[in-house]
Symmetry: C2
Subunit: 354 residues, 2 copies
């Protein structure tokens, strides 16, 4: 029998197969509103409210590198990326469970620093760290975070509710996380070369990273946009669809288009790009737009709104309208600054298995 | 600075430190009934009900070995051990989230088999597999399962409610999982020797394992005792305390005694031991009692009851009264079949880090 490696079908091919296997367990269960395929699972909580739940697994050498990530930051980021998934449902985070597997020789001080980072972030987001599991692992640290949040049934935002004419909006500025990673990986390479050449420890070989602070912070310490969700609830704004940008604007917009069965047209000139990301892209002779479209890890919110909500958001200095939802037949296009239409199907986001 | 490896403080030392770090996130949160320290976290669900949530992380080479565990069984066990934690709160399972990290060359067929095992078990327990995460890993497969269950406030059973005079009860028969593991590890050793000696594949070198079927099944396919929880609810029995036996009777009884601030006296002769575990122990020239007390992974329920509940359980053929809760000063003792009192402090359970 010849076996097929996951790399052949990719992350999304795998998720499709898993969703098909899990579907028969969902049908007989009462109260499941949304199973696999959105940022969170959704199930009924009370006649008027739903719970949303999400989980993320972070593996050393794949999602983080302790040579470039202080454990305190890693802990904070592990919470933030899950809170971000809760926000993407237009919900607020409530409870978190943390699992960790690590080698027996992991220093206690490192674990404490990791959990201090988690607790710090959890307090900021009003989330209680209520439980978890600890275990040994043969190779590297693996952290799994599960977050449970709540929202009213009217406020719930799925990926599937966008329709032609809706405005496409994004929060904050994009590209910073990818740019920050570029800089950190360059520093790591310099350090590793230094170590491999057997040179003595010398602080001066490290670059002064001050000019990259903002981008590095976007990479190491992203914030979940709980503030935006509170703004929505306060102003009774309910996005017709929403997702958080974890794989890159292009890939995450594609999820909205596929699940809403619509197309999209984006204006390149409107995409908010972190100014430091532009500087870093110049330094690496790359295009900051690629960081925004395909870099991922910005954890900003991408959402669609009925046009009559425009007045409610126009004053918010951290929300930008970048385009419009179109009929499905029109596909996903990007109008570049020279007026050319680019097919966004060609721009790939991050895939864990290919 | 000298750093202290986790092995120095052990699993329970580590959990204490983590609980202290997480405590400040729990205080300001409304509705948390029980944080870290029980089988599940507990938080308010409605004025009359609570939700219970648990998570487990399973790492290849630590918790499972694909040389001795078919992926379908592994999937089923991953669900069962978490459902067992839900049962230990006198609650019923509702929703599960699955995270998995695995190397890119993992065969798709293996992943499908794993999830089929999960879906099969989930259906048996009436649990919906509603979400999860997939990711690549540098070394080995890591599975994390989170389970959410529900129960009424009156039915909730914590570890901390036992008081002197309560009956100590256990479900099923113990020692089978540890005995089954003994047999599987012996088979693996024979197979590895064979492979290392460069001998050609030969089915006949494998033992006929038929006589060990029951013990191997306890190891590979443990069942969570949802049936016992349904029996409790039907007969309005509420254990004063409860835990599931994952680390061994001795270690898990110690958790109840510590958290209830009581002592315990167990009769060796009353401990139900799987008869096949006795046969296997004889073969290995070991004592099946050690498998029951320190072997773990039986996933039976250990609970305490007010004596006036005795009539309600005496007819149940799968519940055995094995002893009594005593005042704290009397410690934890085992009366052996010769009438000797043994201090149970000396009998250690499983610790991931020491």
């Amino acid at each position: 029998m010849s076996l097929k490696p996951i790399a052949d079908i990719g992350e999304f091919g795998l998720i499709e197969k898993i969703a098909a296997i899990c579907a028969p367990t969902i049908k007989p269960a009462s109260g499941v509103v949304e199973g696999i395929g959105d940022d969170c699972a959704v199930y009924e909580h009370s006649p008027s409210s739903v719970q949303v739940a999400t989980t993320d697994i972070l593996a050393e050498h794949q999602h983080f590198d302790l040579l470039t990530t202080p454990p305190h930051h890693l802990g904070s980021k592990a919470i933030s990326v899950n809170v971000s998934d809760i926000c993407a449902m237009n919900a607020l985070p409530r409870y978190a469970l943390i699992s960790i597997a690590m080698p027996q020789n992991t220093p206690v001080e490192m674990v404490e620093s990791l959990y201090n980072g988690m607790a710090h972030a959890a307090k900021l987001y009003g989330t209680a760290l209520v439980g978890g599991d600890t275990s040994s692992s043969a190779a590297g640290i693996v952290i799994s975070v599960t977050l449970i949040g709540e929202t009213s049934k009217e406020n719930l935002a799925l990926r599937s509710g966008a329709s032609p004419g809706d405005l496409i909006c994004v929060t904050g500025a994009l590209g910073g996380a990818a740019a920050g990673l570029k800089v950190l990986l360059r520093e790591k390479r310099i350090m590793m070369d230094h170590v491999q050449n057997g040179e003595p420890y010398n602080r001066d070989i490290m670059n002064n990273l001050e000019e990259y602070t903002e981008a590095i912070q976007h990479q190491l310490l992203p914030s979940a946009r709980v503030d935006i969700i509170e703004f929505f609830h306060k102003h009774q704004i309910v996005p017709t669809s929403m997702i958080d940008i974890s794989d890159g604007l292009s890939s995450d917009l594609r999820h909205i288009c596929q699940q809403s069965m619509v197309g999209a047209r984006i204006e390149e000139g409107r995409i908010p790009i972190l100014s430091q990301a532009r500087h870093i892209a110049d330094e690496f002779q790359e295009d900051a737009l690629d960081y925004a479209l395909g870099g991922g890890e910005d954890y900003q919110l991408l959402f669609t709104l009925k046009p009559d909500n425009f007045q409610a958001i126009v004053e918010h200095r951290d929300i930008t309208v970048i385009g419009k939802i179109t009929p499905k037949e029109e596909g996903m296009t990007l109008n570049d600054i020279y007026g050319m239409q680019i097919d966004m199907k060609e721009i790939r986001g991050f895939d864990h298995f290919t």
